[in-house]
């Protein structure tokens, strides 16, 4: 097995506007199983960062435990990273984000890490609308411990052991919309054409952006009886709508007929254009978003794409009115402003 990649890259590999080539966003060689959906998701993150001209040293990667949580080793090798305790990624991300709000946070978790052991953490990060890109690599099983059903496994779905799952599954996207996330999307590791713009949209979003990525486990859950296999997902996938992500710096080149598209301006000025096919699927409306999800589920379809987005919801820092500057830039003078100020505060409280 190869643990290193050859040193050569394509001789005409292009650089992005920040001067980096795709190689600058690579990490170590993956030690996951060959064909793992997580590797594709990893590469979608790399591609999104490359296309958005992200500076690798301005990124923080945080993860919990599990196959998915290994992946931060495989992308952005020159960024900051923290591999935390099982299910505790949101706490670590919250702490880091509180300390330095200027960095880009990518939290990677899996269905076990999120929907089982970390459910409590997940819920609270959502309701606080932490400015975090929360990517859940969802394969419906515990791959690292030989493929037991996870809490996102659909009822009746059977993995390699062949025993159908008797329990109801948790729909992480519905839960996220319910609990206050301001950007909720679902992607499929086998469709980078959709997944990369989803991640880019999430990164442009200010607040908690949750992406549930259906990411098949080739070893334990890619059977014909599983609802999270490459084949099943491809057969049952339904996109909310086609969309274009137009980053702030980029000129809008596409022309949209009036009334056929919905424009969502993100916090940083980027724009998401949704090509509306069906007006009942309004992704800025919470109720309609949940309805669409349920309706497609009834039909046995898996809804993907941007499911819900609301750029207006305040993120944690705005809610708690914290300082605009990263804590490491605060000087003694900032932190100990002197007796006069203290006096003023005290008198205001009397």
């Amino acid at each position: 097995m190869s643990y290193s990649r050859p040193g050569f890259r394509h001789p005409n590999e292009p650089a992005n506007d920040a001067g980096y080539t795709r190689r600058d966003y690579e990490g170590a060689v993956s030690t996951l199983c060959a064909g793992c959906g997580h590797d594709s998701t990893t590469n979608a993150i790399i591609q999104a960062c490359f296309e958005l001209n992200v500076e690798p040293h301005r990124v923080v990667k945080v993860s919990g435990i599990g196959c998915s949580s290994k992946t931060p080793a495989y992308f952005l090798g020159k960024s900051h990273g923290f591999n935390s305790v099982h299910g505790r990624m949101p706490s670590i991300a919250t702490g880091a984000n509180m300390a330095n709000r200027d960095l880009l946070y990518i939290g990677v978790s899996g269905d076990g890490d999120t929907a089982s052991i970390g459910m409590g953490q997940f819920a609270h990060a959502l309701r606080r609308n932490l400015n975090l890109n929360y990517i859940c690599m969802n394969n419906g099983c515990y791959g690292l411990t030989k493929g037991q059903d996870s809490a996102t496994a659909d009822r009746g779905s059977a993995g390699k052991k062949g025993v159908p799952n008797p329990y109801e599954s948790i729909d992480l996207c519905e839960l996220a919309i319910e609990l206050g996330a301001s950007f909720v999307a679902r992607g499929f590791s086998g469709d980078k054409r959709q997944l990369v713009p989803l991640i880019k949209g999430a990164m442009a979003h200010n607040g908690l952006a949750f992406i549930d990525v259906i990411s098949p486990c080739v070893t334990f859950n890619n059977t014909s009886s599983s609802t999270k296999s490459y084949h099943y997902v491809r057969e049952h996938i339904e996109a909310t709508n086609a969309f274009d992500f137009v980053p702030l710096q980029q000129e809008i080149l596409a022309h949209y007929e009036e009334g056929t598209s919905q424009e969502i301006t993100m916090h940083d000025g980027s724009i998401i254009h949704l090509h509306k096919a069906d007006s009942s699927k309004d992704v800025t409306n919470r109720l309609k978003a949940v309805n669409s999800l349920e309706k497609e589920k009834e039909k046995g379809r898996l809804l993907t794409g941007i499911l819900y987005v609301n750029p207006e919801i305040e993120e944690t820092h705005d809610i708690i009115n914290s300082t605009l500057r990263p804590l490491n830039t605060l000087t003694e003078k900032d932190l100990c402003p002197g007796e006069e100020i203290l006096e003023a505060i005290n008198s205001a409280l009397r």
């Binding site: 097995m1 050859p6 050569f8 890259r9 394509h10 795709r22 993956s30 590791s189 086998g190 080739v218």
Partner: protein
């Protein structure tokens, strides 16, 4: 695009750039791998089968394989293929110093070979193994032709030459040395079943119309004739100042030889700009390293004679202009001529065919350019049983091309003697063998070396300039040879794709270090090339296109910079990608 037909033997052959570029199609990666494993005897034998003269070619080959090497497309320098061939020759055991088995029972057919150079010797080897009787005629006292008389010993020692030439002669060639054929009729009358003519391009071009040429004749020589005279020790010294005219490899051999015979001030003058010089870049470098200036854009105007003796050469300074089609014209800059004093001039301004002994009544058709009318594939002339090969057939080329001609001519002669159709030739023999050892192991070392090309150690310059018989290059030792061999990308290990088992998980796309794999909607070639994830503008390299996949897409792989690292196969969960060794061996005489 239509799905790529990988059953076409030429598809994967083309992916093995070095082997494809080699006129004899020597299986280069295969023997380089053997060298990396220390299996020099086997490496030598593969070469011997294909190019007949591994020790000789490992020193003086024109190396068309090296500019073709895939490595030049991902880094600066190719694998030192030629010098690795020499490693195999230098390190083979005495067991590999073999004489192959020649059938005791002759087949009753007699073939005459005229000229004893590489083309004829190749024909001899191929046909002797089939039981033919071979008569070889040459006007020199030993076989070898051009490689013996014109390649100086400091590039190719006589010992190496003798070993590989004698191996063929010892297989039972009837040799007639010191025999100049005055008329082809003499040979035709002897009633041979077939005649092969491989007499090379033995006439060096002169500059007869330049003023002073006749008066200075005592000090002006034709380069190739002068080199032969040095070999036979008719010339043993040169005066101090020597000018060599010409920009090809013969010019480089002349100047370096002159330097070894006492020439202190040796200069090479070339009419054209340096980049248009015919000499191999490494030969020019070698000359310059020996303190010989190579001066371009100087065209000789006259040989200056003083007191009845050559005093120097006047040069016109030239500059090159190119028209919109890239066609070059050399024009004088109009400056004053430059006088360069010298005591000796060597002319290395080209070679020509010379077939005056082929009379019109022989029935062999000749073109206006003095070349015989020869079929490009069969090498047959207008007389059914007379064949041509080497420089004699299509004008001056190189040794490895002559060897390739020899193989083809031998096939034709064999078919002809057996009364078969010369155009119904045996296709190459090919095979595709899986390389999977287990889940994560391949049968070959798929790691990619980042090492730069190793320099070949050379003899001390002062020492080598004092003895023209001392070989300048010492060749790689075993250790450096292995290091250099590990730079080979194993392009014969093909990435073979099975669309029917692919689940489109993108693992191969994600892991490929050079981004050459794509899963996209099909289109015409131009359209596809414009949509691939990495620039795909090298149209000399094919696109590998699969059948339609379940998502209505196709797999498209740009072969251009594939490193053959095997990661796609290693990361493929369904073994839809497999690394398979493709062997391609050109047919040789006697197969059909």
């Amino acid at each position: 695009m239509k799905p790529t037909d990988i059953k076409d033997p030429e598809y994967f052959h083309k992916v093995i750039d070095c082997q494809f570029a080699c006129p004899a199609h020597t299986p280069v990666p295969e023997y380089i791998r053997l060298i990396s494993q220390g299996r020099y005897d086997e490496a030598y034998e593969i070469n011997w089968q294909s190019n007949v003269f591994p020790g000789i070619l490992g020193r003086i080959c024109d190396r068309p394989c090296e500019p073709a090497c895939r490595r030049t497309r991902v880094e600066e320098t190719p694998v030192a293929i030629c010098r690795l061939k020499r490693v195999a020759a230098d390190n083979k055991s005495s067991a590999a110093d073999f004489t192959p088995e020649v059938p005791g029972q002759k087949n009753g057919k007699k073939t005459a070979l005229i000229g004893g150079g590489p083309a004829s010797l190749t024909v001899a080897r191929d046909l002797l193994l089939l039981g033919y009787e071979i008569d070889l005629y040459d006007d020199q006292s030993k076989a070898g032709g051009f490689v013996r008389t014109q390649v100086p010993s400091f590039r190719l020692p006589e010992k190496v030459l003798d070993e590989e030439i004698n191996r063929i002669l010892d297989m039972g060639v009837n040799t007639f040395f010191n025999t100049y054929i005055n008329d082809i009729g003499e040979i035709i009358d002897k009633g041979y079943d077939a005649i092969f003519i491989g007499t090379g391009a033995p006439r060096g071009r002169d500059l007869p119309d330049l003023p002073g040429r006749n008066e200075g004749d005592e000090s002006i020589f034709i380069g190739i004739e002068w080199l032969a005279a040095v070999l036979y020790r008719h010339v043993t010294s040169v005066p101090e100042k020597v000018i060599v005219l010409g920009g090809g490899n013969t010019a480089m051999d002349c100047c370096r030889t002159a330097r070894r015979l006492g020439g202190e001030d040796v200069k090479v003058f070339v009419r054209s700009p340096r980049k248009d010089m015919k000499a191999s870049p490494w030969e020019i470098e070698d000359a310059e390293e020996e303190g010989i200036p190579v001066i371009d854009n100087h065209s000789p105007l006259e040989f200056v004679i003083k007191d009845g003796k050559l005093a120097g050469v006047n040069f016109d300074r030239m500059s090159a202009t190119y028209d919109s089609n890239g066609k070059r014209t050399l024009v004088s800059t109009g400056e004053e001529p430059l006088f360069v004093p010298c005591d000796l001039v060597l002319l290395a301004v080209g070679q020509q065919n010379a077939l005056p002994w082929i009379s019109a009544d022989s029935g062999i058709e000749m073109s206006d350019r003095g070349l015989p009318a020869v079929d490009l594939t069969t090498h047959q002339s207008s007389v059914a049983n007379i064949f041509f090969g080497g420089d004699a057939a299509f004008g001056p080329q190189n040794v490895i091309t002559a060897v390739a001609h020899g193989h083809q001519a031998a096939i034709s002669i064999d078919l002809f003697c057996r009364g078969k159709d010369l155009d119904d030739r045996e296709p190459p023999s090919t095979s595709l063998t899986g390389q999977k050892l287990d889940m994560h192991e391949l049968l070959y070392d798929s790691g990619i070396s980042d090492d730069k090309r190793s320099a070949v150690p050379t003899m001390d310059r002062v020492k080598s300039l004092h003895d023209r018989l001392l070989e300048v290059e010492l060749g790689y030792g075993r250790k450096t040879g292995r290091k250099e061999a590990m730079r080979c990308l194993n392009c014969d290990m093909q990435t073979v794709f099975d669309y029917s088992t692919c689940i489109e998980c993108d693992a191969c796309v994600d892991v490929c270090p050079v981004s050459c794999i794509n899963f996209i909607e099909n289109g015409e070639e131009d359209d596809l090339r414009s949509r691939l994830s990495a620039p795909a503008d090298n149209r000399s390299q094919p696109l590998y296109v699969s059948d339609l996949l379940p998502t209505d897409r196709v797999m498209v792989k740009d072969e251009n910079v594939c490193l053959h690292c095997g990661l796609c196969a290693e990361r493929c969960p369904t073994s839809s990608w497999e690394m398979m060794k493709f062997t391609y061996n050109s047919a040789q005489a006697g197969k059909k």
